[in-house]
């Protein structure tokens, strides 16, 4: 059984009209699903309590967010990553962020108590938020709170992050935790925010060999991405055998994304989502929680997340977008939106250095697997 999790309060997580992390993307998605004849009938979460946040965040940081939210002056806000261009402070920020965490935590709860086999949380995925600082549009780390909840109930969790940016917050929070396997595929930190996620970041102490990073070259295309994904993810899950899988399904690895340089297509995303479900079935009895994440291109993001939703629910994928939806959002945003669900083929002109990029990714993937072998199977 699939359960959708969503609350209209998610739309209040809004850094302002000029900011890329806009709730419009979510509105477009819900409207699109509605027009496609699959209106979302979600369970609504409660905002999380302070205690829930303190399972992964420092008290000092949570207090700073609360103070900033009330409009009180925060001593040294930059220390907490607040009031920066990426994370401007807005009224209601604390509450809106707590709703997002609440949704992901509700998803974990539903999985743990067998109320659902698959959960799609239509929000969240705030993977950059750190123990004591906001970062990269993320205030509270909903993923980490949900994972911590499952750990505290004795479960093991695999975390898969396909956002184009490294899942640094989740990795750091569980860096020495043996019961959490993290796998992040992203554009290399040598080129892209947040700068981390190199192959050699394998975890520490008992967590070593359980934090995996696949840093891909800029302008990596779908074939190369999917090759790396299939070389690493199933092997890691087969070894780790988690009780639950949590997937951060950011849509910003798409070719049209304005903040990054990977070149996935909607077709590639559909394949990725199918494989995630396949692996969940194979390695953790189908128990999987999907969240949204980054993704800043209005032309592609609603289509990618609609594909996620339709794939999870086993609904057929319409080839055309509803004309009324398209017209409404073209007028509202003043942009031209595509008529088809999937990208045209080819979606973009040929990329120079295509072979070099694919070779580089292949060697990165091999280097990662080679360095994991001693931790997974003893010295070889």
């Amino acid at each position: 059984m699939v359960i959708d999790v969503y609350d209209p309060n998610y739309l209040a997580y809004d850094f302002g009209p000029a900011h890329p992390f806009s709730p419009v993307r979510l509105e477009m998605l819900l409207d699109l699903l509605h027009e496609l004849g699959h209106p979302v009938g979600p369970m609504a979460p409660q905002p999380v309590s302070r205690e829930d946040l303190l399972t992964v965040h420092s008290e000092e940081y949570v207090s700073a967010v609360e103070e900033a939210d009330r409009g009180e002056p925060v001593t040294d806000p930059d220390r907490f990553g607040l009031g920066t261009p990426d994370n401007p402070v807005f009224p209601g920020m604390d509450q809106a962020a707590r709703y997002l965490v609440g949704g992901t935590l509700l998803g974990a709860h539903l999985l743990f108590y067998d109320k659902a086999q698959t959960v799609i949380q239509l929000g969240g995925g705030m993977h950059h938020a750190q123990r004591d600082r906001a970062s990269g549009f993320c205030v509270y780390n909903d993923l980490a709170v949900a994972i911590r909840y499952l750990l505290d109930h004795g479960a093991t969790v695999a975390y898969l992050d396909i956002d184009v940016h490294h899942g640094d917050g989740v990795q750091t929070i569980f860096y020495d935790e043996p019961s959490v396997l993290t796998i992040s595929l992203h554009e290399s930190g040598q080129y892209l925010f947040p700068g981390t996620g190199e192959v050699h970041e394998l975890g520490k102490l008992h967590g070593r060999g359980r934090k995996l990073n696949v840093p891909l070259a800029p302008f990596t295309e779908a074939d190369s991405y999917l090759r790396a994904f299939s070389a690493v993810v199933p092997q890691a899950l087969a070894w780790f055998r988690p009780d639950f899988l949590v997937v951060q399904a950011g849509a910003d690895a798409h070719a049209g994304d304005p903040l990054a340089d990977l070149l996935l297509t909607t077709q590639a995303f559909e394949t990725l989502f199918q494989r995630c479900l396949e692996y969940a079935d194979k390695f953790c009895r189908g128990r999987v929680l999907f969240t949204l994440g980054g993704g800043y291109d209005v032309h592609s993001v609603p289509r990618i997340w609609a594909l996620l939703y339709l794939t999870i629910h086993g609904h057929p994928v319409a080839s055309e977008l509803p004309a009324s939806w398209r017209q409404r959002w073209q007028e509202r945003l003043g942009v031209d939106l595509p008529a088809a669900m999937h990208d045209p083929n080819p979606a973009y002109p040929p990329v120079p250095l295509r072979e070099e990029i694919a070779d580089h990714n292949r060697s990165i993937t091999n280097r990662l697997l080679d360095s994991l072998m001693p931790y997974w199977y003893g010295s070889v």
Partner: protein, 207 residues
């Protein structure tokens, strides 16, 4: 960054009358390759794992016995550094003399040791990512005020600069690599281009 910021202390030392065998054990026990040698508390040389291996090698025409005293095989006099030397000065000395460590002396006292690995750590600190940030590479003409123009632009955007590296390229252009605290770097790169800056990364789309 000064030598005192990167040196290791306290220092594991050997007496000059210690044997090769006991010094070898000392290195194994502490996982180190460089041992300053002292006589009555005064630095008289340095012995490295390489010194020991060469001295005792079966390939040597006259190998030393494991019971020989280390003062017979140590390098002397030891090259040293001052705690207040800049790290680049220590790097230059070690590179020029092709040596792997510098005992650090404050007056007559041995207060620390710097090895090649400590310099690599320093390099990582200078170039590495300690805060979430994005990479911006800009080519600037080698004129006064160019960096200030770039910094002023970033300051106006409220974007924090986490680190700056620079080097001159073949065309006498200064290449600056900045780590800046924002996820929205492509947007900023575009604005920099319209302001006439030569942005080398993030790249324009390849088409």
């Amino acid at each position: 960054m000064l030598v005192r910021d990167i040196m290791k202390s306290p220092v594991v030392v050997a007496e000059c009358d210690a044997t090769l065998a006991s010094t070898y054990s000392l290195m194994r026990e502490h996982g180190i390759r460089h041992v300053p040698v002292v006589r009555q508390g005064k630095l008289v040389g340095v012995v490295t794992d390489r010194d020991l291996r060469l001295a005792t090698s079966a390939l040597s025409t006259k190998p030393f016995s494991p019971k020989a005293r280390i003062e017979k095989v140590m390098s002397q006099p030891a090259q040293t550094a001052d705690p207040l030397d800049p790290v680049e000065e220590a790097a230059r000395t070690m590179r020029q003399l092709k040596i792997g460590c510098l005992p650090v002396m404050s007056g007559a006292d041995l207060v620390g040791i710097v090895t090649g690995l400590d310099l690599l750590d320093a390099l990582l600190r200078l170039t590495g990512v300690s805060m979430p940030s994005g990479r911006l590479e800009v080519g600037l003409p080698d004129h006064p005020g160019e960096l200030a123009r770039l910094a002023a632009f970033l300051a106006a955007k409220q974007v924090n600069i986490r680190s700056i590296l620079s080097h001159a390229d073949a065309d006498d252009r200064i290449r600056l690599v900045l780590r800046v605290g924002t996820i929205e770097l492509k947007v900023i790169a575009q604005e920099l281009r319209t302001q006439g800056f030569e942005v080398l990364w993030p790249a324009l789309s390849p088409w």
